[in-house]
Every structure is written in C-alpha cells, then in structure tokens.
C-alpha cells in the first residue's frame, strides 16, 4: 500500500513508527491537524501492537512550536526568523571561511541514528566530499558501538539480530543482558511470551518482573557475570564441543581468562548468588532453542565491547549462533540504529559497512561518488571525542547537527554544552526547537517522519519503507534538500547530491554493492511490492532477484575461514567506582513514555502526563540513609556534575544504586553526572555507571 489515496475511501499510508528500532508498522489516515494512527495488524514484528509513544506519534506532527522557518542568531544574540537563501548563504559562507582559515577538519558533522538510510548516506557523503572533513560521527556511537565492535570481531559482521524477530517466538529460553524491552520496545514482548526469560539487570524492571530468573548484578559488573556463566557452562558440561570444534576458534584462550571467574568469586563481585548463576546456565544450556540478547545495559560501559564479547563467548560455547532457532543478538535502540551505522556517518566507515581504512573500500565508494579516492579523508574522532574537541585547540570550529540533541543525550552534558557554545558556528537541522537548537547560530527547519519518503533498517536487519502521509508544512525542507543546497553553495555539482530519496537509495545500493551490508538488490519497487528483504541482499547477477538474508551465519560466519571467534576478555572495574564521597552507583536509562533526548516525546501531552520530569529512583533504605523522602527534590551529584531529580522510592532498585532516566532537559539532565570514560575499542561512553551521592537539593556537603 502506498501513500496514494483511493477514491471513495479515506486516504491512508502504511509506514512505520518514528521511534525505536522495532519499527512497528502503522497506518496513518486523516489530514494535517487530524492525523490518526493505528497499528498494522499483519506486520509480523508488532502484530497489531503499539505502545503509547506510537499511538501518540501523530501529536508530534502538530506540535505548537514546530520550526517553520530558518532561524539566524542576530547581533543581539537572539534567534530570529530568516529566509532559506539568507540562512543557507550564511552557513555556506561561514563554512568556506572557516575551512579556508583552519583547514577542512575545522568543520564537523554530527548525525543521528534516527535518520533514514538515505539521509545518513547523504550526510556521510556531504561530510567527506562537500566538506572534505574527517570529523563526522553520530549519536549511534552512544547506542550500538560496543555491540558492533564485539559482534564484528566475533562473527565478522554486525547485524543486530542476525535472524528475524519472529524466530524468538519459538525460543525456550532467552537471556536478556541489560535490555528492558517491556519499556523500551513493548510490542517485542509479544515474541517472548513462550520463552523462559533470564533477565540480567541491576533494576527489577518490568521485563525482569516477567522473568523466570532475574539476575541483578551491581552496575558495571556484567562482564564478570558473563565470564562466570561461561565458566559454569564448562564445569556443568554444557559446552557444545562439536560446534566449538567445527565452527569457532579461540575457545581455549577465552577459557583461560574465565577460568579465574568461578561462581563464588563472581558472586562476590556482582552480588548475584552463585546458585542463580548456575540455574541460569542450566536453563540456557538445557534448552533446545535458546537465545542470548544484549542491550544498552551491557554495552554502555568503558568495557562495553568486552562485555558483549563475553556474552557472545557464552552463546558460542553453547552452540547458539548461526543455527536456526537459536542465536546471539543485540537489540538495536534508535529507529534506524541499524541502517544508521552502515551508511557512512560513522567516523571510521563508508557506506555498506565499508571501512575508511581499507584501500579497496575507499576506491569503490570514491568511484560511485565520482571523486579521487585519495581525496577522501581518513577516520575522524568518535562522537564524544568530537564533542569534547569542539572550539578547542586543534578542534573543529563549526558543527552541523542532524537528527540529534547532544545537549541532553551526550555524556558529561555540562561540558559538552560549553564546547558547543565555544564554536564559531553551530548549525542545527531539526523540526522542533531542541535544547541543542536553542544554542545554534543557525537553525534549519526540516521535515519529519510522516512527511518524508525513505528507508530504515530495523533491529532485525530488514529494510523498511517510510512513507510520506503529509507534505511538509510551508517553509520546511527535507534534510536531503538542505544538504543539496549547501553542497551546491560549497561548489559541488548539483547532480551529486540528489534530493529525491529514491535516487539517493539507488546510489547507496551501488555504494554498498559487494560490501558486508550489501543493499544493491533492494529497491523501492521490491519493498513497495511487500517483499521482506533483509541485508545482505546483493543484486542478482543473472537476472534473478536475491531473496535477501533473513538468517545469517547458517553455513558459515563472515570471517575468511568461516569460523566465529571467541574473544579473550577479562573483567575490570568501571572508570569510577563508588567511594566515601560518592558512595552510590548512579545509572541512567529509559522510561516507556519518553524517547531518547525527549525532543519529540516531551511535546506530547499524554506522554508528559505519564512521565513529566526527571526522577531518581532509589530504595527506601537508601533514602533513609541520605535523609531523603519520596517526592522531595534531590541532587544526584558526581565528580562531573549534578542533576536535580524528584525522589521516587521503589524496591525495584538495589540499595547501592540510584536510577535516573535521561530524557529530560535543563537541570534535570541525567547526563550532567555521567562522565567521559570511553570504551577503548568502541569509544562508547560509560552511561551506565557513575559514582554519585544523593543529597536534598540545596544541601550539598
């Protein structure tokens, strides 16, 4: 079904929810101001389900403070409406000037995991070709980078779920490490109904409440827990030796480190009873169909990639990956968190998951782009390092932000805000005045989900069509139109930056042809005909259309020898553990009614009613210990900064831990207390562990 109306019937468009990576299929009807949504009954991922965010998504199309004209900060320091030509000329002029004075890397780009494949692709190309800068990364670095690093090393390829979501329906046991889909992607639970869940989470989340077994490790100790589970898999005799011999390498080295993690030691470090660890392994190892899935809780650490690797090791030892009916996967977060990490907006990557460091990859993409491969810049700074360098010595002087709100979502937010303020030029393309847009010198109003065509790649690696139900309001342009207009002003051929999504998609098919994430066989026509296409989907050489790859690794893993790799990883403490001054673990995360930085969901009245402000969840014992009461405003402070939050007493959080959701602005930003420690491999910040203290607001010691 496409966006065209049918005579005699209300016009309807089948598209997907604007939020998370589950990408529930929805049907939109009605005109601007009165758009209605309903879940598609026949889409296998959501099967007629939708959470409150999805049901209320049409409200975002009608927010009262929608950006409808470019804004330019005047000499008086106030953002004032401006014409498109004025704004674009100004931006292009300043970019040229800064580039001439400081070099191409003086201009940086920050993208987002919510951008369509077409936009992510065009943004990466714009940075490398029109700006010639190496300084591009995106907020997906804060989401998927640890899982991507670990699974690429293990399997040779990173696709969040290397199997369709519906495969989970038949699972007997599923281990969820640091994932809370009951709140972050509720309709996924429809696929977990028959399985016994083993949930690893310091909080007793709604997902944990549905679990057969809940393991509650202290924040930052998931790696020790995973090592302990592998240790037990060996001593309980649950290792699939035949599989390990035939399909993997590196088991012996992996065992050598986890040998030191006998269950009683793991218990001491994690606080999880040894008996529960044994039960978990027996459940997993005894199941006919078992899955191990990770989420941000395991990944957003300075040892996140090693933690994922340790869970992959467990899955490999049990013989799960690459077998139909079992496997390892990671639950991608943002709407296009999968496609967004394959399309070349990541600091070290080119489209198709190609590498900027690989000469053959550079040559292929340069040829598609019609440029000299030698002219392509090399890898640039990772997201936090990029933000940290802004406006400093040798750092970028200008930043262009698309589809992101780092003032709220980046770690060590007060510092990042200062860096953004230190820029000579901040340009933000958004459809609402986000907290980051409020700091900008130029704000460019762009189209949003139901106003644009494109594709996204969901958590299962399936390429999905987003369809325009409305035309953008007058004064609003699409991101592709913005990039085109700027590229032309920067001296690029008009034809090099097409504005039609379908054209961009056709180009990215060529750019990804033969690459790991090969989209060359996917087309709008095939998608619109209802085909379920999972990458890799190469163009059929002999005329026959490739069916796509719903399940990866069934015959071989993507390394040259076809074998998966065990990783030799060891536990280590978090960057900053609680001490006398900051005696608690502070951990950050999500609530059901808000999405990411909240720029969209905080504008939806029903969602604000459900989750209006920053809360700090703490155990009643903890509140008593620190002189706090339910409903009081507390300051949650770390060595990096402090957040103001309303105390919510709950027994679902460990007494040594407080939890703060990160969706809220201003003094309630949870990221005011998160720090700048990064995973050495993935450059993922440590969102999940800070050492904090809690005090009544205004009574800091």
């Amino acid at each position: 079904m496409s966006g065209e109306g049918r005579p005699g019937r209300q016009r309807e468009s089948t598209t997907h929810c604007p939020y998370c990576a589950l990408q529930c299929s929805t049907v939109l009807s009605g005109e601007r101001g009165g758009v209605a949504v309903r879940p598609s009954a026949d889409f296998p991922v959501n099967r007629g389900g939708l959470c409150q965010k999805g049901w209320t998504a049409p409200s975002v199309l009608a927010v009262p403070d929608r950006l409808l004209t470019p804004l330019v900060r005047g000499a008086d320091g106030v953002l004032a409406p401006a014409g498109w030509d004025e704004a674009l000329d100004l931006v292009a002029g300043r970019l040229r000037e800064l580039r001439a004075r400081h070099g191409a890397d003086a201009v940086a780009v920050f993208g987002g995991g919510g951008l369509t494949n077409e936009k992510a692709y065009a943004l990466g190309k714009f940075a490398r070709v029109a700006l010639g800068t190496s300084q591009i990364d995106y907020n997906g670095r804060f989401c998927m980078s640890s899982a991507a690093a670990a699974t690429t090393a293990a399997f040779g390829l990173d696709r969040g779920l290397p199997f369709p979501v519906t495969d989970l329906d038949g699972a007997d046991v599923i281990l969820l490490a640091g994932a809370n889909p009951a709140e972050t992607m509720p309709p996924l639970l429809r696929h977990l109904e028959d399985a016994d869940l083993v949930v690893v989470d310091p909080r007793r989340t709604r997902t944990a409440e549905r679990a057969a077994l809940h393991l509650s490790p202290a924040p930052g100790t998931d790696l020790a827990l995973a090592l302990g589970l592998l240790h037990l898999a060996v001593t309980e005799g649950l290792v699939d030796k035949e599989y390990v011999d035939a399909r993997t390498t590196g088991f012996d080295a992996a065992w050598e480190t986890c040998a030191a993690w006998w269950p009683e030691r793991v218990e001491e470090v994690t606080g999880v009873p040894a008996d529960d660890l044994r039960t978990a392994v027996r459940l997993l190892g005894g199941a006919r169909r078992a899955y191990v899935l990770t989420g941000r809780g395991a990944e957003q650490h300075s040892k996140g990639s090693d933690t994922v690797a340790a869970f992959v090791n467990l899955a490999l030892a049990l013989g799960l990956p690459g077998r139909e009916g079992s496997g390892f996967g990671t639950l991608t977060g943002q709407g296009n968190g999968q496609g967004g990490r394959e399309m070349g907006q990541k600091a070290d990557q080119l489209p198709g998951y190609r590498s900027l460091a690989d000469p053959a990859d550079r040559a292929h993409v340069a040829a598609v782009w019609g440029v000299d491969a030698r002219a392509l810049p090399g890898p640039g700074r990772s997201a936090y390092e990029l933000l940290d360098a802004l406006g400093g010595d040798g750092g970028p002087r200008a930043l262009m932000v698309f589809g992101s709100n780092p003032v709220v979502s980046a770690p060590r937010a007060a510092h990042v805000t200062e860096r953004l303020k230190a820029l000579d030029l901040l340009v933000v393309a958004d459809f609402v005045p986000s907290e980051t847009a409020a700091l900008a010198d130029v704000v460019l109003p762009v189209a949003q989900w139901a106003e644009e065509e494109g594709t996204l790649t969901s958590l299962e690696g399936r390429v999905l069509r987003r369809r325009a139900h409305l035309t953008p309001p007058p004064g609003v342009r699409t991101d592709l139109e913005v990039l085109h207009a700027l590229a032309v002003r920067l001296g690029q051929d008009a034809g090099r930056f097409p504005v039609r999504p379908r054209e961009v998609f056709d180009e990215l098919r060529r750019a990804s042809a033969g690459a790991r994430a090969d989209y060359s066989g996917v087309s709008y026509a095939r998608l619109d005909a209802g085909e379920a296409l999972y990458w890799p989907c190469p163009a059929g050489g002999d005329g026959a259309a490739h069916p796509g790859t719903p399940r990866l690794f069934l015959d071989r893993f993507a390394h040259p020898d076809g074998r998966a790799r065990f990783a030799s990883v060891d536990h280590r403490p978090s960057a900053r553990e609680p001490d006398e001054t900051f005696p608690l673990y502070g951990t950050t995360g999500r609530v059901l009614a808000q999405y990411q930085s909240g720029a969209q969901t905080r504008r939806v009245p029903e969602l604000v009613e459900a989750a209006p402000e920053t809360v700090v969840e703490m155990h009643p014992d903890t509140a008593r210990r620190f002189g706090l009461a339910d409903g009081q405003t507390a300051e949650v402070g770390s060595v990096h900064g402090a957040t103001l939050a309303r105390v919510r007493l709950t027994r679902t959080v460990r007494p040594d831990t407080v939890f703060v959701p990160f969706h809220f602005p201003g003094a309630g930003r949870a990221n005011l207390f998160t720090g700048d420690a990064l995973d050495p491999r993935s450059r993922m910040p440590e969102f999940k562990v800070s050492a904090v203290r809690v005090t009544p607001a205004g009574e800091r010691p």
Partner: protein, 475 residues
Amino acid sequence: MTGVVIVGGGPAAHRLAARLVGYGHPGGVTVVGAEPRPAYHRALLGSVLDGTLDAGRLALPALPAEVRQLTGVRVTAVDRARRTVRTGDGRALPYDVLVLATGARPRVPPVPGLETGPGRLAEGVRAVRTAADCRPLSEGPVVVLGGGIRGVETAWALSGTGQEVALVHPAGHLMERHLDAAGAAVPAAWLAGRGVTLHLGRRAAEYTPGKVVLDDGQVLAAGTVLLCTGTVAETALARASGLDVREGVVVDALLRTGDPRVHAIGDCAEHAGAVGTTVLQAWEQAEALALTLTGRQRPYAPGRRVLRPRTPGKDMVVLPPAGPARPDNTDGTDDIDGTVSLLDRAGGRHARLVLRDGRLHEGAVIGSPSAVAAVSRLYARDEPVPADLLALLTGADGAYAGDGTLPDEAVVCHCNNVTGKALKDAWHRGAHDEAALARATRATTGCGGCASVVRRLCTTLADDGDDTPAEGATP
C-alpha cells in the same frame, strides 16, 4: 638492570609477573617455580576432584613473552650480599629485587604412618594442594582428615561423584574456627545427606596402607587418605637467608622484608600478623607490589574478604571479624550494635550476623543462596545493612508479591498508561470485552502482557452485575 626474580610458580607469582610487564617494568622478570608446570588455579582443584573440570583446564593464561619462566626448578639458596639466588640445577640468578612467593605446603598431622620420612607421604596419602594431587584416586573409600573449609569442600566434591567418603575431625563440629555448633550442623547435614560418614571429635591414631585407626579404636577402610589439615608457610629459604620469619616471612605494608630488596607475597608472607591468604588476596598483594615496583608506591591494605567455601549447589559464607572490637570508653564493653541470628534447622539454614555501627562486623550465613550473596557484598564493601534484616537473612524479597486486588489508581497497562479506573470507566460505558476495552483505552495493545488482567476485570465486573454508570452514580 638485572631485574626482578620471583621465587615460586603459583598464582601470586603469575599475577605479579604479568602485572610487572603490563606496567612497563624496565628490567627483566624471571619466575622460578618448583612445580613442573606453569601456574594454575588451585582454587579449582575441587572442580577437578568432583569431575566437572578436566585437569588440563587449570592453567592460568600464558605469561607475556618478556617473562623468563623456569619450571621444575627449585631455588636452593639466597645470597643477599651478592644479590643472587642459586637453583637446584646449578644456576645463579642475579637480582635487583627478589620476591618470595613460595607459597605453603600441607601440614601433616603427627599421625604414625602418614609419613615414611620427613616430607615424604606414605603410599595412599596425599594432600589437596597441587594439580598432581588430583590424579585418580586409589580403589576404595577415601578418608578425609580435617573438617575445616578445605576438608568440607573436598568431602563435598568427592561425595558428589559417588565416592565413599569418611571425614575425621578432632573438634566437636566442622569448621570450628569459623562456625558455632549450630551453624556447623548445616554443612554436616549436607555431607551426611550425600553419604559422607562424619567422625567428629575423633583423631586419626595410626595409618597403615588401606586403613586408618581412630583414637577410639574404630578402623576405617582407606583406599586414599586426603590431608586437609591446613598448611604451613614455605619459609625455609627466607629463614636460611636470615630474613625475619615468624609463622610466615614478615613483611611491612609495602610487602618488604627487613631487606628492602626482598619482598614476599602470597601464602608464604606474614603481613600485619596474618599469614595465609585466599588467592584473591594473593592477587591483591601481587597487584600492589607490581605498582610499588614500577614506581607507584602502593601500600597493601587488605580488603575485607569473605571466606566462601566452594560447595557447588550449597552455599555458605563466613565473614571474619573485621578488625578487633573497640572498647567503649564508658562501660568497657565494645561497640557492637547487637547480634542477629536465624536458625532454621529443618530448612537447612543458619545465619549469625554481628553488627557494628549498622554495618556487618562478623558472622556467617549458610544455606540461603541469596542471603549469602547479599551479605558477602555488604560486608566486603562495608555498606549499611538494610532496615529489614530478617528479609536479608532469609533472602526474601517482599516487593514482588501483590495482594491481588487492583486499586483504581494502579496502572494496568504500562505500555499505554491505562489505570484500573480508566478500564472500569470504559467497561461501564459499554466496553465489555477485551477487544472493546482495547479500542476504548488502548490497554493490551502494547506488549500484550496485561491481557489476562483485563479479561479478569471483565469477568469480575460482570459477576458483580454492576453496570451502573460510573460517573454520576453517587451524589
């Protein structure tokens, strides 16, 4: 620079050598171990005994190539004046820094027949100390001598394989250094439940191959006798070279002996009057010494370490007294807050916790896996105990259970933030089944988890026969 020579091939020596390289120690690092194989996990010997781990899986990771590793080589003398150690195979190894990590040897109780000469165990007798000790047992029953932690672990591991085991222990109850009689009754019951015969308050009087005679005249058939009677720090080398030795090689906070070039770590060292370590403590010492030797002086501060016997499937933890009792100025008593005990003989659970300043001072928890885990962490991190101590000890988690009623303000459908009241209101407006309530309120349309609650609500309201409109029904 001639570098560091480490005497000993166990986990402490291994960790120190690895860390020295990791921290960029500029000189050479040599490890001299008497055992024929590189370092391995002693803590896992029980897993070999109970058949869950192959002996080949005990090895610690290979040391970095920069480390010179001598195995099967015994150090025979230390010449501190020349800063040289001599080895049994005739080498002279010069050092700038010498680290003694010689470990401990099994204590052999003075029972006639156990030894055929000094340090030479009789046929059929072995300790549980080395990988070699885990070789297959002789035919016939096993007699474990000693009912401390190691004895209990060993008897538990062997009895799990179906092996016939008798345990002989001179004290009136097991683990008497750590547990009171009531507590010790729990592991005693575990062992008895697996068919282990306990001979408490009894000593072995004589051993001859094939049998152990007890001090009351009982004769126990013994294919193998396993010595779990403690260890003695291996200090001969230190003593011979004139270093200060009490029970162990005496070291200060920087793990130095009286000779600033000679250090000692692990089971052979005596720090602050304490000798004998768990492997985790030995690793902490190795870590601290590696930092000190690479220029970041790091005094060793022993962490609070629980004793966590390895009896897979059964859980217990001992919290050693955390420092001496502090007398109170006014009445001469110490400042203990009190003691909390739980004895559930039928359920096989026991706990005794001594509190000081609202924190755990010492105690033991047996038979309750979640309480063992919780108490271990609170003790190790010196954190305040929860308000509900009984819940802590029983491992109960009060918050899961609800009483089944549905308060109006309770959210039934979290995915769509639908309260019980909203559902009842919709029902009264005519939405009388799940589908109609879903259309009216969106309840059940997210994860689907509340569908059963919504259906039950329909039944309850229908049974009540109450179809009066909710709004305006009461004045």
